[in-house]
């Protein structure tokens, strides 16, 4: 792939420094949400 094909640069995210860390943070957040909803379902049923 030459420079023209690569096109725009993939700059780092504005927080957590790398995209991998940001992706991991999103997945941890999802796990916490599901756990919270599970507790919500069990507690009020």
């Amino acid at each position: 792939m030459d420079a023209e094909q690569r096109g725009p640069r993939d700059e780092p995210p504005p927080f957590l420094k790398t995209w991998k860390r940001l992706y991991a943070a999103v997945l941890v957040y999802l796990a916490l949400l599901i756990a919270l909803f599970y507790w919500f379902t069990r507690h009020f049923s």
Binding site: R6, P13, V26, Y29, S45
Partner: protein
């Protein structure tokens, strides 16, 4: 609707439409009309992505879904954050670097013209069907408020949107979405606060939670594994596949992040959606659950669709209507008493009394549901719509009857605004694919930019008219939010499969990808026609069959299904 509501509604719509048209200035080339000149910041893309997905259907149907079936629908969105992460890491950089107008344009670069054409046609077919439902949902708003038939309001709503959409380009659509999403967030908070404020004075928020929970309306997570229902597994796996297909291969979403000014900005737009979407859907479903609690103490109508209710109340049907109404009244009263007992026994810590009240409460709920089912059956048997369902009318009926003046107008304006942005975005994407992937590729390859811009506007008008013609189908589909996703799932799996092949299976060529897509579609329609599998799994089935068939053909018959030229050269 009181005068203040009409004033709020009219002012909101005029401001939104005027803002959209003002933002569309400068959209006088094909690239600016279809891709906003690739100048969009991440927050505009993020809110536009959310606004396009969260249409009027989200407000109207999801709240009703929660009222009748509880909050289990939120699990449908659990796979979305997974999909956003995968797409940010794969599709976003690939599409940006390929410098394409549409996702399907990339398929020609990777495979061949026929694979691109097939993917484009599949998109046009499924999005064309879905946009009809998107128009039908706001038409319900008018039918409830004005007491008109859905067909009349569908035509009026559709024509208004067509005019607006043809005038505005993607830049106008995106910035209008930003404005509308902020109004939606505000409207959601106001709606929940108002519902809670309308509960009886001696029923607190915690009581409301236990009452909704005892009736199965707070069933947000179901860990059992069942292919036919919403549960955490179908949500995580099936929902992830659906979201991958929707956000990765549906031009109405891909076009949003193609407008980003950089790869990073587009990724941030998707990741913001990942973080905000699940809580937002939970919040909307929770409003529906609280509307259910409100109606424990204020008798709801037997049917929330006023036109049909008045029809079965007419003298010629009274002999059949009145026994149902009497049964419904008795079941409501029994449920109200049991609900009050439930509140008192819970507060006093009387566990045995609580269990007894809960049993009576659930039994009364079953009786109430049965009376409603008989009411809907009466609608069908007396010449009404076959498959009649009033889920989509529940929230609007509540809003117009019980919310204070001004707030009603605001909520209705939010619903209209959300609908208009979704429809305009969808029609815009349909026009883009029609012009870029079909007209410019196969009909007229060389023409001026001005010509393609004019054809884009004509294509937008055509798809708007098509959507209006198809909208009537929505009446027979029960919950619209489910119907939209079922229609999408009939086609998304094979689209997702071909893009997975394109990104990750470099030895698969155009012939194998094309045959794989056909096999995937056949498998999905077989699952739809002959099995009871939930639509969430269609995307998994379609994607897996496309990949398996293409790989098998490539390896089994390499002469007929050769690898791409770059590999064979």
């Amino acid at each position: 609707m009181r005068p203040l509501d009409w004033a709020v509604l009219a002012a909101s719509l005029v401001v939104i439409v005027a803002y959209g048209i003002w933002r569309s200035r400068g959209s006088n080339t094909m690239e600016s009309y279809l891709l906003a000149g690739k100048t969009m910041p991440w927050y505009a893309m993020a809110l536009s992505i959310m606004a396009t997905q969260a249409s009027a259907i989200t407000f109207i149907s999801t709240t009703g879904q929660s009222y009748v079936d509880g909050m289990r629908f939120v699990q449908f969105y659990f796979g979305l954050p997974l999909a956003m992460v995968i797409l940010s890491a794969t599709a976003v950089p690939i599409f940006h670097r390929a410098k394409v107008y549409t996702a399907y344009e990339y398929l020609e670069t990777r495979f061949d013209p026929k694979t691109r054409a097939l993917a484009s046609v599949i998109f046009l077919l499924q999005r064309g069907l879905s946009v009809g439902l998107t128009i039908y949902a706001p038409a319900i708003v008018l039918s409830v408020i004005l007491g008109w038939r859905d067909s009349v309001t569908t035509v009026i709503m559709g024509c208004t949107v067509i005019v607006y959409t043809v005038l505005g380009g993607i830049k106008a659509v995106t910035w209008t979405d930003v404005q509308q999403m902020l109004i939606i967030f505000f409207g959601l908070v106001v709606s929940l606060v108002t519902v809670l404020a309308l509960l009886p004075g001696d029923v607190g928020v915690v009581d409301a939670l236990y009452l909704a929970g005892a009736a199965g309306r707070l069933n947000a997570v179901d860990t059992s594994f069942d292919l036919g229902n919403y549960n955490v597994w179908s949500g995580l796996i099936g929902g992830a596949f659906l979201a991958l297909a929707y956000f990765g291969t549906d031009q109405s979403q891909v076009q949003r992040y193609l407008t980003g000014r950089s790869i990073g900005q587009s990724k941030l737009g998707l990741l913001f959606n990942a973080a905000a979407k699940v809580p937002m859907q939970f919040f909307i479903l929770f409003i529906g659950a609280m509307v259910f609690v409100f109606y424990l103490f204020t008798q709801p109508p037997l049917l929330f669709q006023q036109v049909e209710l008045q029809r079965i109340q007419a003298p010629e049907h009274r002999a059949r209507y009145e026994p149902i109404a009497t049964e419904y009244q008795a079941a409501f009263e029994a449920r109200r008493q049991a609900a009050l007992e439930l509140v008192q026994t819970r507060r006093s810590g009387d566990d045995a009394g609580y269990q007894g009240a809960a049993g009576r409460y659930r039994e009364a709920q079953r009786d109430l549901d049965e009376a409603r089912r008989r009411g809907m059956q009466l609608v069908e048997e007396t010449g009404g719509e076959q498959g009649f369902h009033d889920t989509n009318y529940i929230f609007l009926s509540f809003v117009t009857r019980y919310m204070p003046a001004g707030i009603v107008g605001l909520v209705i304006a939010v619903i209209f605004a959300a609908a208009m942005s979704s429809i305009s975005g969808e029609i815009n994407s349909l026009a883009t694919v029609s012009v870029v992937d079909i007209y410019k590729r196969h009909v007229r390859k060389e023409a001026t930019d001005r010509h393609y811009l004019m054809v884009s506007r004509l294509a937008t008008a055509f798809w708007g008219a098509y959507a209006v013609a198809f909208a009537g189908w929505g009446k027979t589909l029960g919950s619209l939010i489910v119907a939209v996703n079922v229609v999408g799932s009939l086609f998304y799996g094979s689209l997702l499969g071909v893009f997975v092949l394109a990104f990750f299976f470099k030895r698969v060529g155009g012939n194998a990808a094309f045959a794989g897509m056909l096999a995937g579609e056949a498998a999905i329609f077989a699952a739809f026609r002959f099995t009871g599998i939930s639509f969430l799994w269609y995307n998994v089935i379609g994607c897996v069959v496309v990949i398996a068939a293409a790989l098998a053909l490539s390896m089994g018959w390499p002469k007929a299904f050769p690898p791409p030229r770059k590999l064979t050269a």
